[in-house]
């Protein structure tokens, strides 16, 4: 019987559990008998020497099993947390030791100083208040540029001048020459402020040590478990095989949950030392102060143009705050990632990217949705807008003139960028054209006049983006027909909300001719999944999907041999369709599921065929996908208060071929909400002198809410599938967060343009906008 044709956008299978409150997050996991609860004693200072830790009173407190400090950690020989990012040798990356518990010095508010282990969370917390730490405060610096200035308080002996790295890519001499000779040079400074990814579910860990096998088991709210395992192995000086990491349902990560955190090390270490399981759940306030932050990149940009507005050269120089220590993925954003997307959707003959990383007395910086691509796209798009203004050109005309693949001499695809990325294709010009039309740019003047009658300033902004999606280049997948009739799809990528239980099942259903319901996704378990690179870099379908397609091919090849044996036919003559192998014209056929049963019995197998119907594949790709789009935002500004209201948001995007358009829309919407948050309200603030965190909770850290966001119009153009993977897909997970900041800021600046405002930094908060208006009016 033939399957009904698969639905293009089936609803997310996982939502039955998520929406009905039946998901199992870390905090839902059963607490094992004898479990200890960890509470961290954290630094209240941004920078201080630790003179003494008096833990006697805490150790004597009721229910306390242990209070451990940096000295104990040193005595047990645990190594510092590694930083996984590889920068080119010339960047001279400095990785100062980051111990899971501070040794002699603390370098940011919230840095772990001691850990209390007790019979209950309350007992641990009570005892933590009795740990008396004597600090000698030191001067602090929280701003990256200030940290690199002469005389700034030094954080690490290993890093003179607080310099973490100095990265350069491109042709500096050619760029300088082009800038010197250009008819126009637009120079500006823009910043991607420090933000917090703020996943709904805080981090947490449940750690066990099995003395008999010498193996650790860590249940954690993490993403990218294999990488965390490798980092753990380095810290403990043990083989990776000793660590079994599992993530249950994860309530969002966005990059924040990528790295190894000190708390995981502490939980495992304490579990081994004390011979009892250890549970740690972060409190929301710990997430703001002591998880990781993101962005924090200031850019000095120069764009050279000829007399006709053709781009000649681009120079971007980032100064990026790294926080007090390097988190595993921190240094990659303004360097490797930004270099990959350098130039955005424009053909720019030459250019140079420079980035300096600075240690500051702040929480470490980590990758966050887009990681480097928001920073570089923002720099470019703001420069393009500024160039249009200075040259008196229409910003869209300027974009058209310079777009990769545009007629006007800029060349087509594949396009090799100034920094050596080969862009295979994209709907750049078509996206722009569609966005302009759908945003009704022609009717904007009337809408602006209408707003003006109500005392409001209206603005329309468009911006393009180029994402370079892949993340780590290797991925693994397996297809296993289980004897119970189900089919396991094991992949090394990880869903923490994206909907992989649906999309991967769709990919498999399509190729194996079985219903979506037949498949179980196995992920985020380092024992069950041999290899993996998790999520990060909008890579899951591109790489995990490709690995899965290969594994499916391998399993079908095996099934074909078995089918031929059972049907007494030549393997080559068999046709496979709708889940069955058929001998054409004979009426003889066998279904995959029957083959799975037959394969389980070695007796009935042809010679040389191993029992079981399963296959796995390790996929490696040096190809990146290039999601791209053009977005439009329309805003209204209340000039009396500076409040910006986002009236409309339109995305016209090319993610290649879509496996499930509904899921893609969901991904775009989530990214947009975060990007709009960055544009309009979010900013981590530290007090400059003291280094105290001023945004320690959502009461002070402004997150966007549903009511602040208009319905998003997401138009998906499938006209340019990529050949970089067998599915033709491009990563859609990060794009919204990349595109929204320049789009919204273009709209806000457009609204303020009639007043003469030309400069405004993110976030465009009411007071900032009000001040910009007042300054422009000369008040």
């Amino acid at each position: 019987m033939a399957q009904p044709p698969p639905q293009r956008s089936p609803r997310r299978r996982e939502d039955a559990r998520f929406l009905a409150g039946r998901a199992r997050f870390l905090a839902d996991a059963e607490v094992p008998p004898g479990c200890l609860h960890a509470h961290l004693v954290r630094s209240p200072h941004a920078h201080a020497r630790i003179r003494d830790i008096a833990a006697g009173a805490a150790r004597a407190a009721p229910g306390v099993a242990a209070v451990l400090t940096g000295a104990d950690l040193a005595a047990d020989g645990l190594a510092p947390l590694p930083c996984a990012v590889a920068l080119p040798e010339a960047a001279r990356l400095v990785v100062p030791p980051r111990h899971a518990l501070a040794r002699d010095r603390v370098r940011h508010v919230g840095e772990p100083v001691a850990v209390v282990l007790a019979d209950s969370p309350a007992a641990a917390r009570d005892a933590a208040e009795r740990v008396a730490v004597a600090y000698e405060p030191l001067p602090a610096v929280v701003d990256a540029r200030a940290a690199l200035a002469p005389g700034a308080p030094p954080l690490h002996e290993e890093a003179p001048g607080n310099l973490a790295f100095a990265f350069e890519k491109g042709d500096r001499a050619a760029t300088e020459a082009a800038i010197a000779a250009a008819a126009h040079v637009v120079a500006l400074e823009v910043a991607n402020q420090r933000v917090h990814a703020a996943p709904l579910e805080p981090r947490g860990a449940l750690a066990c040590f099995d003395a008999a096998s010498g193996r650790f088991r860590l249940l954690l709210s993490g993403q990218g478990l294999h990488a965390i395992r490798a980092q753990l192995a380095a810290v403990f000086g043990l083989p990776e095989e000793r660590f079994h990491l599992v993530a249950p349902d994860v309530g969002g990560g966005f990059g924040l949950k990528n790295p190894l955190f000190p708390e995981y090390v502490l939980a495992l270490w304490a579990a081994r030392r004390l011979g009892r399981p250890v549970r740690w759940l972060a409190e929301p306030s710990e997430e703001f102060a002591a998880a990781v932050h993101a962005r924090d990149a200031h850019a000095a940009v120069r764009l050279a143009l000829d007399a006709e507005g053709r781009f000649l050269a681009l120079e971007v120089a980032f100064t990026a705050g790294m926080g007090a220590y390097l988190s595993a993925g921190g240094p990659g954003s303004t360097t490797n990632a930004a270099a990959a997307a350098f130039g955005g959707v424009y053909a720019i003959p030459t250019g140079v990217l420079r980035a300096r990383g600075a240690f500051t007395n702040t929480a470490p910086i980590e990758a966050y949705r887009g990681a480097g691509k928001p920073e570089i796209n923002y720099a470019i798009e703001r420069a393009v807008e500024e160039a249009a203004r200075r040259l008196g050109m229409d910003p869209l005309a300027l974009r058209r003139r310079n777009m990769i693949g545009a007629a006007a001499g800029a060349g087509g695809f594949p396009h090799r960028t100034a920094l050596g990325t080969t862009v295979d294709g994209g709907r750049f010009a078509a996206n722009l054209e569609a966005a302009e039309r759908r945003a009704d740019r022609a009717g904007f003047a009337a809408r602006r006049a209408d707003s003006a009658r109500r005392g409001r300033l209206r603005g329309l902004g468009l911006a393009c983006f180029l994402e370079t999606a892949r993340g780590a280049p290797n991925e693994w997948a397996a297809v296993r027909f289980a004897p119970d009739g189900g089919v396991e799809l094991a992949v090394g990528t990880q869903s923490n909300g994206q909907g992989h239980e649906t999309s991967f099942a769709q990919v498999a259903a399509d190729r194996l001719g079985l219903p979506v319901e037949a498949f179980r996704l196995v992920q985020a378990d380092t024992d069950a999944v041999r290899y993996g690179n998790g999520h990060g870099g909008a890579r899951s379908l591109h790489l995990g999907g490709a690995a899965l397609v290969e594994a499916i091919g391998a399993v079908l090849a095996k099934a074909r041999v078995l089918a031929a044996h059972l049907l007494q036919a030549d393997p080559a003559e068999l046709a496979f369709a709708a889940g069955r192998f058929v001998v054409p014209g004979s009426g003889r056929e066998v279904a995959l599921r029957a083959l799975a049963r037959a394969a389980a019995d070695p007796a009935g197998l042809p010679d040389g065929l191993a029992p079981g119907l399963a296959a796995e594949a390790m996929h490696r790709s040096d190809r990146v996908t290039f999601p791209n789009g053009c977005h439009a935002a329309e805003v209204e500004v209340d000039p009396e208060t500076g409040v910006v209201t986002l009236l409309r948001y339109l995305a016209v995007d090319d993610y290649g071929r879509l496996v499930n358009p509904l899921l893609v829309r969901g991904q775009v919407q989530g990214g947009l909400a975060q990007g709009i948050g960055q544009a309009l309200c979010e900013a981590i603030a530290y007090e400059a002198e003291s280094g105290q965190l001023l945004t320690g909770s959502p009461l002070d850290y402004a997150l966007p809410r549903a009511a602040d966001l208009p319905p998003f119009e997401v138009v998906l153009d499938e006209g340019a599938p990529t050949a970089a993977n067998p599915l033709g897909v491009k990563g859609c997970g990060q794009a919204g967060a990349i595109a929204a900041p320049p789009t919204v800021m273009a709209a806000v600046l457009d609204a303020l343009a009639p007043l003469g405002v030309t400069r405004l930094d993110m976030p465009a908060t009411p007071e900032r906008v009000w001040r910009a208006i007042r300054a422009a009016r000369g008040g």
Binding site: A122, R125, D126, S285, E640, T641, V643, C681, A683, A685, L694, T695, P698, L699, D700, Y701, A702, L703, T765, P766, E767, W770, R771
Partner: protein, 264 residues
């Protein structure tokens, strides 16, 4: 949270007795301010006296030229009360903008006014309408009630029982929300009626206050234009990452103007 004892009296007298006997005991109403403080270990009361079983603290009624609202009235009840909507629609509207649905279904008038958070909504209405705070032992005029940041004229152990709001001819409210907390960054409650013309400003300063210059201007000419050019001094106003004192001072004028427009 630290440990505490829990009491649930059924009368005001019993509650007051419990509170008077233990200076470290605290009443709890909706708990939407007190519970987070307990969870964050910012407060350490020895005992909580749960007011929710006290019928005397409930109810919203019109009494002649006043609306009397019990301390335990939840924000949502005030927002939806026909008595309030009919007599003082601006007060019902104000209640309907406090926090979110969950907050409005738990938080109470008494809890909010007793707490006197500078960024709370109700204090502006109480002062801006010239209301009277009724406690277990006395009546306190709004002008004497709000004494400073998170402080009021309530004595230790004194319970807020109800608030009497005189019915104005006109009243209006406008506020600008803090972008993060969505509490009030700066708000203005204006009224004209038996208590004269009143302009109460919340959010901007450490404590709700009356803007006398605007009151005088509105007494002469009840229109948004009358306050449009009156500048509030930023001296002594709150300043934080979301709004400097200067910005808040500017907003005082804007919100007062809009509140008058809201009053009609």
């Amino acid at each position: 949270m630290y440990e505490f004892a829990y009491h649930k009296p059924s009368s005001v007298a019993d509650a007051v007795k419990l509170l008077s006997a233990d200076p470290e005991a605290r009443p709890i109403a909706g708990g939407h301010t007190l519970l987070p403080a307990l969870k964050h270990r910012l407060a350490r009361p020895t005992a909580l006296v749960d007011l929710s079983g006290i019928a005397e603290l409930r109810g919203i009624r019109r009494e002649g030229d006043k609306v009397v609202i019990g301390a335990l009235a939840r924000h949502a009840e005030v927002a939806n009360s026909d008595a309030v909507k009919g007599a003082i629609p601006a007060l019902a509207r104000l209640a309907g903008t406090i926090g979110d649905v969950q907050v409005r279904n738990r938080g109470t008038l008494g809890g909010s006014v007793a707490n006197n958070d500078p960024a709370a909504d109700y204090p502006a209405a109480v002062l801006g309408l010239g209301a009277t705070v009724v406690t277990d032992r006395r009546r306190i005029a709004a002008d004497d009630f709000f004494t400073g940041m998170f402080s009021t004229a309530l004595e230790p152990g004194e319970l807020l029982v109800a608030i009497e709001f005189p019915i104005p001819e006109k009243a209006g409210y406008a506020k600008m929300k803090n972008p993060a907390s969505r509490y009030v960054m700066t708000g203005a409650f204006v009224s004209r009626g038996p208590q004269g013309v009143r302009v109460a400003i919340n959010g901007a300063g450490p404590c709700v206050f009356r803007q006398r210059e605007m009151e005088a201007a509105l007494a002469a000419n009840w229109s948004p234009d009358a306050v449009a050019n009156i500048r509030q001094s930023p001296d002594g106003l709150n300043s934080d990452i979301h709004g400097s004192a200067e910005y808040r001072a500017h907003l005082v004028t804007v919100m007062a103007k809009r509140a008058v427009a809201d009053a009609g």
